[in-house]
């Protein structure tokens, strides 16, 4: 046994061969030592703590030289039992849990969950139009902020630093809008069964329009940097190839599916929240590679801006309309408002229940502590999240709490395609392929 001197690459003998723990620094001594051995098959454990794996994802790579022969993903490091926890809270409280699953697309989790609860309640058609338009507005803003992270970190992981700076600068503008509307930048619990938590504050439409104009200008920066950039194209073209047959058998949806040329977007094919009333295009490419998926995300930003503008037009026409279902046995009893310390009960409501009407107080108390009952049965609702189909399967036994809530997370499903995309390619391309799937580990592990 040779004594290894490199403090960054210590080694020990195990029953399965020699194991090196590489923690950074210089790989030269490690490469020299491995080169000296007769071993041809090297297993590299990338992650779960690794800056290029998009969170706590562990990738187990079998290498021959620099060629990847086998890839497996190890997941579960961020499992927090969200689905189990929702079974111990009221239906409304469930929103606060599910928003934390895919933390880059919280509004989509909330909307999918609320649509499924509304389907169980049978009130899908009773949701006020203004609430649906606000949902669409928030979802499309969220799609922009989520794609910004996908583009920014994806480029960063392939060694391009500037796109990340631009992407996060633009994402910040969208998060400011979220803060103005819901009081929070992420995990807002803003979409509620029956509508939304509160109407958008006065002056928001003007600010949204200003931001949209600014974003249109800002998006050009990344476009100029990356689209048609030779280095970027060499790193992404013909990498992470997955054709239509591969996508259907693996259940892949979202930009990865659309990069095969199939215009499958639930907003068009199975519209919800009134998406059929908006004018937008489904973006596809036919290269089925990382570059194609990058282009799709780039162009979807512009489509989202178009929908946001149309939603603003609609909201101006629907000024003063309700944002919560009329049924007082389901609707959250108080209108909330954003105060100095975040979102809370509006002062008018506090005055009513504490000083004026005892019945209002009882009603408030019953709905908030006990919640509403949902008729027994099950429902499956799917929405088009930035990563693909976010499906929610909810089961009710007729009680005030969900009997079972299951999220069909696109990140969880799409991560399965890592092996199909990466086996046979170079190790450096694994990073690009995974970045193009854009998995969010909060969603994968739930």
């Amino acid at each position: 046994m040779t004594i290894h001197s490199d403090p960054y690459a210590e080694s020990r003998e195990t029953t399965e061969g020699r194991v090196y723990s590489v923690t950074g620094g210089d790989w030269d001594s490690l490469a020299t030592e491995i080169g000296a051995t007769k071993e041809e098959r090297v297993v590299v454990n990338m992650g779960p703590q690794h800056p290029s794996t998009h969170g706590v994802l562990r990738i187990i790579l079998e290498l021959e030289g620099e060629t990847v022969t086998e890839v497996r993903c190890g997941i579960g490091y961020l499992h927090t039992g969200i689905e189990k926890n929702t079974e111990y809270r009221s239906w409304t409280q469930g929103v606060t849990f599910v928003t934390r699953m895919d933390y880059l697309a919280p509004i989509f989790n909330e909307t999918a969950y609320c649509l499924s609860v509304e389907k169980l309640l049978g009130i899908t058609d009773d949701i006020p139009e203004r609430a649906s338009v606000i949902r669409v507005l928030m979802m499309e803003l969220n799609r922009i902020s989520s794609h910004m992270v996908a583009l920014g970190t994806g480029a960063l992981e392939l060694g391009a630093l500037s796109p990340m700076i631009f992407a996060f600068r633009d994402r910040e503008l969208v998060l400011d809008l979220f803060e103005q509307i819901s009081g929070l930048r992420m995990n807002m619990a803003y979409i509620r069964p029956g509508g939304v938590a509160q109407d958008i504050p006065a002056g928001s439409i003007k600010k949204i329009r200003e931001t949209v104009d600014q974003l249109r200008i800002n998006f050009k920066d990344n476009e100029k940097l990356l689209v048609g950039n030779t280095i970027w194209m060499k790193r992404t073209q013909n990498i992470g190839y997955l054709d239509l047959a591969g996508c259907t058998t693996l259940g892949i949806t979202g930009p990865v599916l659309r990069s095969t040329g199939l215009p499958w977007d639930l907003r068009k094919t199975q519209p919800y929240c009134g998406y059929e009333n908006y004018d937008f295009d489904v973006i596809t490419t036919d290269s089925a590679d990382v570059y194609g998926r990058f282009l799709i995300r780039m162009k979807e930003l512009e489509q989202s801006l178009r929908i946001v503008e149309q939603a603003c037009d609609k909201l101006e026409k629907l000024e003063g309309q309700p944002v919560m279902v009329a049924d007082k046995k389901i609707a959250w009893p108080s209108q909330l408002s954003v105060g100095a310390d975040g979102m809370g009960n509006s002062l008018a409501h506090i005055r009513e229940i504490m000083g004026e009407s005892m019945e209002s107080l009882i009603h408030h108390f019953k709905l908030v502590t006990e919640g509403f009952r949902v008729p027994a049965g099950q429902a499956y609702v799917a929405v088009e999240s930035p990563r693909g189909e976010t499906g929610v399967h909810v089961v009710s036994d007729g009680g005030t709490r969900p009997y079972r809530v299951h999220f069909r997370e696109p990140s969880f499903n799409n991560l399965q395609s890592t092996s199909a995309m990466c086996e046979g390619s170079m190790i450096a391309d694994v990073i690009g392929a995974i970045a193009s799937i854009d998995p969010v580990m909060g969603g994968v592990d739930r």
Partner: protein, 212 residues
């Protein structure tokens, strides 16, 4: 499906509402009769034509809240899935995953596996449901039919203990490999500890007073 007692559904403490004798039974939607409406009749007809053992394989058909659920016997699940995928008029080429539900009260059918199918060709969705007893939780794996169901079956095994026979590597996926028990079962406790804050103690969620 379950029973609510009393006015507030309080259990553990005395019910002083005067409605303690009230009993409400919650019933899940039962079997549906034709016509099912929409494309559901076409799906049932086409499957019946393409799949000879239809009447034997399908326990019941439920149409509820605009969704079609086929309750399939596990012995026929694989063939049903193949027929649903391969028949030209059906073409459910995508399976969006499988999910378990635990019904401890349904003796002999405690564990349900629920499959969400999607047809890109015809833009349709249906659901398959398979029920198995807790004492014999075996269901044939559908990885050969839809490769993407691989991780979903592993998750369902991890969370509910349903064993998918023929799965290429049925191991835990979210919980650690040496974990005991299956967390999403109803008899598995949520856990948690009491939290003290400013002198008051809040019990863990599963031990708080609840209104069912």
């Amino acid at each position: 499906m379950s029973e609510d007692k009393g006015s507030f559904g309080v259990h553990g403490t005395g019910d002083t509402s005067g409605y303690s004798g009230l009993v409400r039974t919650q019933v899940s939607p039962g079997s549906s009769e034709r016509p099912f409406g929409g494309y559901f009749d076409d799906v049932a007809d086409d499957l019946e034509r393409a799949f000879p053992a239809f009447s034997e394989a399908i326990e019941k058909i439920v149409v509820d809240r605009g969704e079609l659920t086929l309750y399939v016997k596990r012995t026929h699940l694989f063939d049903t899935a193949m027929a649903l995928r391969n028949t030209e008029t059906l073409r459910f080429e995508m399976c969006m995953g499988v999910n378990g539900v635990h019904y401890p009260e349904e003796s002999g059918r405690e564990l349900h596996a629920v499959y969400a199918l999607l047809s890109l060709t015809h833009n349709r969705r249906i659901r398959l449901e398979v029920a198995v007893p807790d004492s014999d939780p075996h269901i044939p794996s559908l990885v050969e039919v839809w490769g993407g169901i691989n991780w979903h079956e592993r998750e369902t095994y991890d969370m509910f203990g349903i064993i998918f026979d023929g799965h290429p590597g049925l191991t835990r996926i979210l919980m650690p490999d040496d974990w005991q028990g299956h967390p999403q079962r109803k008899d598995y406790p949520l856990g948690g500890i009491p939290i003290e804050y400013k002198g008051a103690t809040t019990p863990p969620p599963s031990e708080r007073r609840s209104y069912r």
